[in-house]
Symmetry: C2
Amino acid sequence: MGRVSLYLRQLEAYLDQGLTTISSSQLGKPLGITDAQVRKDLAFFGQFGCPGIGYRADELSETLRRILGIDRDWPTALVGLGHLGQALSRYRGFANRRFQIVALFDNDPSKVGQVYDGLEVRPLDELCTTIAQRGVLLALLAVPAAAAQDVAEVLAAAGITGILNFAPRSLVVPARVSVVNVDLSVQLEHLAYKVQNTGPSGVSSALSS
Amino acid sequence: MGRVSLYLRQLEAYLDQGLTTISSSQLGKPLGITDAQVRKDLAFFGQFGCPGIGYRADELSETLRRILGIDRDWPTALVGLGHLGQALSRYRGFANRRFQIVALFDNDPSKVGQVYDGLEVRPLDELCTTIAQRGVLLALLAVPAAAAQDVAEVLAAAGITGILNFAPRSLVVPARVSVVNVDLSVQLEHLAYKVQNTGPSGVSSALSS
């Protein structure tokens, strides 16, 4: 799945350069992915390029955006305005891809009422109403680990369909709620593992999502 | 790989509770992983529990820490003290797992000299010397996308062995340098994809690393 995002990003760079058709090797090379893998991935989604010509760039971009679900808007709430939450509230990459943060929540009285990037932090007991009113679908969960499960339950009850969980613990939520965990320590452990298993003669890939 | 981190975290929770042996289902259940998968994963690393008894918790914890490379210290540098970098500099989860941030770098004159969590931000031209002197092995790269490749090359030249890359672009580095990309937009797209493919009758997992 991560590769589809990478393909789209690369494809958009080519579209900006004015390319109209693109080969699997053009798409894969800057990403360190073999053209065989690119063809296999895209065939899985029913995209077949023309042999010797390649894919139509605009068509493929359309398809990848639909696969990723970013041919639509995803109103997003951010819960937890600690250091990480504040950084997330200012992160520009989300809106570009149609994930727009439309509401901020925190229970800390020193945070409620503060304004980040034009949005006012509201207490958690307004979460349910606001999520319904604003049609919020996703939530970024950046609260401390000890609070994460409780807040996740409130979010699930409020009708959130997906949670990007930054708290270093697993969440138990109803099956209708999707969760993706972004545990930075786990990512760092993954890096240490790769470093440890890359000797001077080892082969390392610049890509790993 | 991500699962090994999750197993270790769960195992440590059990050790704190005083458990000395642990079954594959005890380990997997809170993580939403089947006991068959747990056994398969651990067998891959040469860990065989006793049928009907399970794994020795302390021994297994030792092995998992060795596999993850966190039975040693990983002095880490943080490059880029924007919003995300500042949040990372204050993140507590890293040091707990022996990833200690020992140096901060930024080229912005308004940032150089500032102190975050007891560390002073230094200009990038000191990077090479400091990395050698302090034995820094890993780097958190939190610079803007446009600067990421240049800084990655400086880090590689300075002898860094691994980069956790937060910039939304791929890095080209020598094979001896490992890279793990943490692109938050990609994670959010992954979440949107999961939500989109989880109907009311869909089956969703709370785990996905």
